[in-house]
Amino acid sequence: MSQQTGTLLGFVHRRRRWAELFLLVLALAVGAGAYAAVGLGVEGTIPTNMVAYAGWLAVLVIGAHIVVRITAPYADPVLLPVVAALNGLGLAVIHRLDLAYEAAGKPHGFAQQQLIWMTVGVLLFVATLILVRDHRVLQRFTYTLGLVAILLLLLPLVPGIGATVNGAQIWIRLAGFSLQPGEVAKVLLVIAFAGYLVVHRDALALAGRRLLFVDLPRGRDLGPILAMWLISLGILVFQRDLGSSLLFFGLFLVLLYVATERPGWLVVGGSLFLGGAAVLYYISSTTGKLAHVAQRVDIWLNPFDHYGEGTDDRAFQPVEAMFGMGWGGLIGRGFGEGSPERVPYANSDFIVASIGEELGLTGVIAVVLLYGFIVERALRAALVCRDGFGKLVCVGLAGVFALQVFVVIGGVTRLIPLTGLTTPFLSYGGSSLVANWVIIALLLRISDQARRPAPQMTALDADSEATQVVKAVRVPS
């Protein structure tokens, strides 16, 4: 069933760089337009630094485009514009909240900081494209990267540099900077998993027995999945971070399933996760240990019991976010007409609530669709990619993206219990933004390789029938 080459016989992808440039201009219009709208809505005038701001955005985005043109000419033309639009919109919303915080005398200036992070992100994006000329090189570092990822995940638990924010111990503070190492670990883990699974997929896929119409894997092959399960639960218990836990475990399951083509892994893994979560909830709600788990669920189910005077006010953030989004309605209040600053962390975890309030359901759906595009383009790259490792990396990155977006937006809109995760490209936060730009660079690199015309097989020595040497020739780009 699996069709190894995505490229149909004779079909050659076009480069589509001009399409990308056109879409980038639209994306710039979104970013710069949103910034101007914030100025008009909040202060009544277009910001004085409008030209410089728009210029800087344009330099970053067009710069990235030129590097893509040179280093990855066949790369997917939609990804970069979508990301540019999201990043620009995020900057405008953060700027809008800065203005509100400034008026209230609170710390502000996050937009400027975010613009610096975006610059760093684009630089790393460019560096990734230039340094990683072939993604298969990364497969060599499977175990190294895996180890680094686990170390990064453990860092916040190290006394002295670990920091607890909002009850989740997922931050480190070093030399005045705070970092969320989980965001970087995310990328490394995808590569490590892909490298591991592409090698072991046959063992995992073929051995095993059948039980109730489900192919179950062999006992000894359960080792890695059990290890990952323990790590996820460990993150949940020790770092109190339900979101990352769900993200890593979900990522691993998705990759296992794709690598082995056996849904049995999903059943096993899914039941393990649900079982683990249920046991944790049971412990949490009956013994009082790990109380935050039961608390989160309770806040999710009965937010209004935890809101307002006379209650513990723990649901202040989600309820205010709901009120804000409800108030935004279909088309939103417009920049400057709402009060998104009422929601704590409105410019990071809850930035979707800010968008929902001031840009309305329309804005939220647009953002979800943009994320959908990213996932769709990544999966499309996975489909046409010619090597298993590349496929797995693409699926992994797409899966991380989809799960993260689902968990954070679902949490903010009360579809699932709230967990702390950043909204990719929108939220304020350096680690996340930079890591996500690198993810996009990797996706572009793989899609460039995948969409490139297949190497043509040319017989060097047509005369000798016994020893025919076949050499792959790269079609000049």
């Binding site: 069933m1 699996s2 069709q3 995505g6 008009l40 809505g41 998705v254 399933y257 794709v258 690598a259 083509e261 209004f304 809101y307 307002g308 309820v319 205010e320 709901m322 009120f323 804000g324 989004m325 409800g326 108030w327 935004g328 309605g329 279909l330 088309i331 417009g334 007409e337 709402g338 009060s339 009422r342 929902g356 309305g360 359901l361 939220v364 759906i365 979800v368 669709l369 994320y371 959908g372 996932v375 769709e376 999966l379 996975a382 489909l383 298993g388 496929k391 797995l392 699926v395 797409a398 899966g399 989809a402 799960l403 977006v405 689902f406 937006i409 679902g410 809109t413 009360r414 579809l415």
Partner: protein, 490 residues
């Protein structure tokens, strides 16, 4: 590996679909429920700081939003606070009352009739402004009513209502004691809470709009309704002879408690002219007439005038005036003179007069003349509406004659105006409790031949006045006169 990738793609699609459906549910289907949630400070704060439309009397605002320099953009102010508080109500961070509440949609700009304006504001990115509400109130009449009632003393409790009989437009509505809505609309929330608490707990209930929320025994003013029933059912004329006498023993009773007298007024012996009975407010006559008409017909007539129903849409809450639905003959006799379980609001008694002045047709009372867009363009307004025909035109004429006689040579003489024929009726109702003084009532309309205004005055308590001197004519008459003059002679 492509098959699982396609499965994953579908799975991701489902995830994103779930997000979009949930967002739609939250921001579309649940939006209004969330907006109306009592704890939703966001909506409150925005409403509180927005530029609401004005409440106008003529062209003068009695409630308006002015720019404010604190954390809210606009401050609601009431330029004539005490005089108009019962009508405008207040607009505070915590609650709204009066027109501020009943016409909130227009004032805030959310009314569907202001949709086009809202759309233009949206497109031009201007913050929206509410529409204005123009009241039917006549500034001169309102002032006369307020000054007249206030002149009775500092602690007076009472109300005045004036109606234009032909339409039902409310020309004046005053209730004392009153309060300053500015103090409740203040941005200093702690002070607002204190003020509200204090006003709410005061024994004289300044927050109650006595014109529509207080119902008391109407006493002798109810004799108009009894007379209306008698004329309709028993075919009396203004010059007919009606039963008189200095005392009347109610049917099925014995002794003092069932004995009706006239407190010294001359009501003849056997038969007296109808005019004399009305002019001297003869209890014996009207108790006997009520018994003759019967409980059912009395109820029917009272309900035709508006008792036992609600009719005012522009202000809430309002008390329903009541007439007992089942009772014996003795009680029926008592209802004939406005006692027993008959209770009326001042607005109801003004409507009784207005109905007679309008040839028997009861018009729905209303307070809002027109609704104006923020650009001050009038929106289509509802026309005056008939509620019922209480009595025939002939009966109305007879009643007018009786009431004119009462002003010219009876108990209602304090309301007489030079060169204008005035129709009126006094009332002094027993409170039914020994330590509570009687209530003074007065209702009238003028000019009798071309009625322009019908008034009801109710004085619940006037501590400055001796108990023996509390009488509808003496206390209420001059106030009614002043209000009628204000309307007739602008």
């Amino acid at each position: 590996m492509n098959k699982p990738i396609r499965t994953i793609a579908i799975f991701c699609l489902l995830l994103f679909l779930a997000l979009m459906i949930n967002a739609t549910y939250l921001q579309y289907y649940r939006a209004s429920a969330l907006d109306e949630h009592p704890l939703n400070r966001r909506v409150l704060a925005a409403a509180f700081s927005s530029e609401r439309g004005a409440i106008l009397v003529g062209r003068t605002p009695v409630a308006e939003s002015v720019r404010s320099n604190d954390r809210y953009e606009f401050q609601r102010t009431y330029p004539q606070p005490y005089k108009y508080a019962p009508i405008t109500g207040w607009f505070s961070y915590y609650s709204q009352t009066g027109i501020e509440k009943s016409h909130n949609a227009v004032l805030s700009g959310d009314d569907s009739r202001l949709f086009v304006t809202r759309l233009v504001d949206l497109l031009s990115n201007a913050s929206s402004k509410g529409g204005s509400v123009q009241l039917t109130v006549d500034a001169a009449a309102q002032e006369a009513a307020f000054d007249g009632l206030a002149a009775l003393g500092e602690d007076v409790q009472g109300a005045v209502v004036a109606i234009e009989p032909s339409s039902g437009r409310i020309l004046a509505m005053v209730s004392l004691p009153t309060y300053d809505p500015n103090e409740l609309a203040s941005h200093d929330f702690a002070a607002v809470a204190d003020t509200y608490e204090e006003l709410n707990e005061r024994e004289d209930q300044p927050l109650v709009n006595r014109a529509i929320q207080t119902r008391l025994a109407p006493g002798s003013t109810f004799k108009i309704v009894t007379a209306a029933a008698a004329i309709e059912e028993l075919d009396y004329r203004a010059d007919s002879q009606v039963p008189g006498g200095s005392t009347y023993q109610l049917p099925e009773t014995r002794g003092e408690s069932g004995l009706i007298d006239n407190e010294g007024r001359d009501c003849g012996s056997d038969k007296i002219p109808f005019t004399q009975a009305m002019g001297n407010s003869c209890n014996t006559t009207f108790a006997r007439l009520a018994v003759q008409v019967g409980a059912d017909k009395m109820l029917e007539r009272a309900e035709a005038f508006g008792f036992n129903s609600s009719y005012l849409d522009d202000l809430a809450p309002q008390a329903q005036s009541s007439f007992p639905e089942e009772m014996g003959q003795a009680s029926t006799g008592q209802t004939g003179i406005g006692q027993f379980e008959v209770q009326a609001t001042p607005l109801q008694m003004a409507m009784v007069s207005a109905a007679i002045a309008n040839g028997g047709t009861v018009m729905r009372p209303y307070l809002v003349e027109t609704v104006l867009t923020p650009e001050l363009e009038p929106l289509p307004s509802t026309d005056p509406e008939e509620i019922s025909r209480a009595i025939s035109a002939q009966t109305a004429d007879v009643l007018t004659d009786l009431m004119v006689y009462t002003v010219e040579s009876g108990t209602a003489s304090p309301a007489a105006i030079d060169d204008v024929s005035v129709a009126g009726k006094t009332g002094t109702a027993q409170s039914g409790q020994d330590d509570v003084p009687p209530y003074a009532w007065f209702t009238s309309f003028a000019p009798a031949d071309d009625p322009q205004v019908a008034v009801a005055v109710m004085i619940q308590s006037a501590p400055g006045t001796e108990r023996g001197e509390i009488a509808g004519g003496a206390l209420g008459g001059p106030i009614a006169k002043a209000v009628m003059e204000a309307v007739i002679e602008p």
